[in-house]
């Protein structure tokens, strides 16, 4: 048990961070190089002003017609995405680990808040799962990999919640928690989770084309 713990909380953390940050960097650079070679117009028409204008509308809840038309989805997806990033960064238990390892720390949320937000994330994942199964158009687009990805995202939250509450087997769960978090980090650059990296560019490009060239809104 100690060996496993030491391994997942030691070298594997480094590996996952390296894959995560290195992967993001690699994806961005390789995509930029490819675009320079094959899609030079992306550079020609990308506009900071109009790109940001579009991004801004899309990252504000109900900032676009689409968000307004699907209020439940909008609320769920926004809280989900905010929590997804917010919880791991501001969780007390994580901060103390960073403090121990690298002597860095910052503001944290209360454990009660973390509990509630984690439930929100898990509930959101269930919402997404149900959507995939129930809505015909989403179901049509869904492949096994979509469930796997959803699982990858949900796993750290479910296992974290389990571990925190010290439910039976929480020791094993704790290790799975660390591992699943690492898997998620490593998966981000190389799966459809890479929408996290590419969102500013795809949205920004569309916003640039709509704004700077076509003088129209894209939200």
């Amino acid at each position: 048990m100690h060996d496993i713990y030491n391994f997942v909380s030691g070298p594997l953390v480094w590996v996952s961070f390296i894959i995560f940050f290195g992967g993001i960097l690699y994806r961005l650079i390789s995509m930029a190089v490819l675009a320079k070679k094959k899609d030079v117009i992306v550079y020609e028409y990308m506009s900071l002003q109009y790109g940001l204008r579009s991004i801004l509308h899309w990252i504000i809840p109900f900032g676009t017609v689409k968000w307004q038309k699907n209020p439940i989805f909008t609320i769920v997806t926004f809280t989900f995405h905010i929590c997804l990033i917010f919880i791991p960064i501001f969780l007390f238990a994580h901060i103390i680990l960073w403090k121990e390892s690298w002597d860095i720390s910052w503001w944290y949320i209360s454990d009660i808040a973390a509990d509630v937000l984690t439930i929100v994330v898990i509930a959101s994942c269930i919402f997404f799962l149900v959507r995939r199964i129930v809505l015909p158009d989403v179901k049509y687009l869904t492949s096994i990999s979509d469930y796997v990805i959803l699982g990858i995202v949900a796993a750290p939250f479910i296992t974290g919640f389990w571990t925190y509450h010290q439910w039976p087997g929480f020791r094993i769960m704790g290790i799975i928690h660390i591992l699943s978090g690492e898997i998620m980090l490593a998966a981000i650059p190389f799966t459809r989770l890479s929408h996290m990296i590419f969102f500013p560019f795809t949205r920004g490009y569309m916003g640039s084309e709509f704004g700077a060239v076509r003088h129209a809104k894209d939200w």
Binding site: K38, D137, L141, H195, F210, V213, A216
Partner: protein, 447 residues
């Protein structure tokens, strides 16, 4: 109103299209694989990769598409659903697909997507489905599988540099004929041909000569009364339309745009003003010019709607009496989403019509007419498919009618063709006009 949606595959596949059928018969799996991979390797890159890898299969784009809505939310017609059936499959199989697969994707790309780009406004990532479908059309073109009527139009473009096999003399003759007709109404009227150094090159599309010559007549009246210094060329290059852009024949698209812009340069005009055509605007404004390496059109291109706006705003056209009766307005994708002209259009409509009733949704969010993107050019075999694929437009128009609108103004040839069919098929009993029709009717003319 409520028509049952086409039960997709069965009925659709019954459509006989020699262009597709003969094209398919000539294919072998090896050729398909080789062509697909060549297109993917040499012509696509970061955009395709990013779009495919960023799509999280969320289905948010579904309700953007008029085909999806009109087919009772059939997932096969959702934008991402169409990408799944085409691009994803191609990438997954690395081009190892059979001829029947090509038949399906040709149908989907050419007759089930108008490239209207509405879905780009419903995808949080701004994934450009129209771009992805264009790649499918490109592949089908390179495989020689394109609906017959579309391909025939592309051939006309290649042989005559216009879309309707209009010969050089027929074009000039039509201009002179319209000029003569219009002189009965306005004796001093001219359609100056080859007037070097004129302010404006008025460019049209071949259907205006073949079927809607009155539009040239009306344009001549408007331009003359407004005192606009304009000219029209006496050479090929007069047609601004571009169905090659929609069949995937990019090389021909470039050739057509080169002819058009170089005609403008030769005539030494400052601007090109074009008639009420949407797809042609797209081809000259941000597609064809790019293939030629012009970042923006080398000679500015002004769509009729913007031009009318200028004329009315500057008082060059005066309104004798506003058009009576309530009108509604169809925002064409290529000039609203494509150029943001919707507010100018409203200015013109309000200036010329007594009562304006918005249809909903409108402006950038308006539903596509289901005729653009080359779909109406796929011809009679697909007419019913096109009409049924846009039941939502009938509902949208009906709602506007219920609030009093008797007239639809559609400043785009494709919108016009599409909506005309919808009005008839769904028994909407509404009149349909171009903006120019209205202006011509109600403007002050010298007696």
């Amino acid at each position: 109103m409520a028509e049952p949606a086409i039960k997709n595959s069965e009925q659709i596949d019954k459509i006989v299209d020699e262009g597709i059928d003969t094209g398919i018969a000539r294919l072998t799996p090896e050729k398909i694989e080789q062509v697909i991979n060549k297109v993917l390797k040499t012509e696509t890159g970061a955009r395709l990769k990013t779009y495919v890898e960023t799509c999280v299969h969320c289905g948010l784009c579904s309700e953007a598409c008029h085909y999806y809505l009109s087919h009772d939310n059939d997932p096969k017609f959702s934008p991402a659903g169409k990408v799944k059936q085409t691009i994803w499959e191609i990438l997954k199989k690395k081009g190892k697909v059979d001829p029947e697969f090509i038949r399906r994707i040709s149908r989907i790309a050419s007759t089930e997507c108008n490239l209207c780009r509405r879905c780009a406004m419903y995808c949080p990532f701004g994934i450009d489905v129209a771009y992805l479908i264009t790649i499918v059309r490109r592949i089908c073109h390179m495989l020689g599988v394109t609906p017959l009527y579309q391909q025939d139009t592309a051939h006309s473009h290649s042989a005559n540099l216009n879309q309707m096999w209009v010969k050089e003399d027929e074009y000039i003759d039509t201009l002179q004929w319209q000029e003569e007709e219009a002189q009965d109404e306005i004796p001093y009227l001219r359609i100056p041909v080859e007037k070097e150094g004129a302010e404006i090159f008025y460019s049209v599309i071949a259907p205006e000569l073949k079927f809607r010559a009155q539009l040239i007549y009306q344009a001549a009246v408007i331009l003359n009364v407004a005192g606009v210094d304009f000219t029209m060329p006496a050479t090929p290059g007069w047609d601004n339309s571009d169905l090659c852009m929609f069949t995937g024949d990019n090389e021909m698209m470039g050739r057509l745009k080169k002819a058009h812009f170089e005609t403008a340069m030769r005539l030494k005009v400052k601007r090109i003003v074009m008639g009420e055509c949407g797809h042609a605007f797209r081809s000259v404004y941000d597609v064809g010019n790019r293939w030629l390496a012009w970042k923006m059109p080398p000679i500015p291109v002004i769509h009729a709607v913007e031009f009318y706006y200028e004329l009315i705003k500057e008082g060059k056209i005066k309104i004798a009496k506003k058009y009576e009766g309530a009108v509604t307005f169809q925002d064409p994708c290529n000039i609203s989403r494509g150029r943001g002209l919707h507010e100018m259009a409203r200015y013109v409509v309000n200036a010329t019509c007594e009562e304006f009733i918005e249809m909903h949704p409108n402006r950038e969010h308006n539903y596509c007419c289901c005729a653009g993107g080359g779909v109406i050019n796929a011809g009679p075999p697909y007419k019913m498919k096109r009409i049924k694929g846009n039941r939502i437009k009938a509902e949208q128009l009906f709602a506007a009618k219920a609030r009093g609108a008797k007239v639809v103004i559609a400043p785009c040839h494709n919108c016009h063709g599409g909506i005309e069919d919808i009005i008839h098929h769904y028994g909407l009993d509404m009149e349909l006009y171009f903006l120019g029709d209205i202006i011509y009717k109600i403007m002050e003319k010298p007696v």
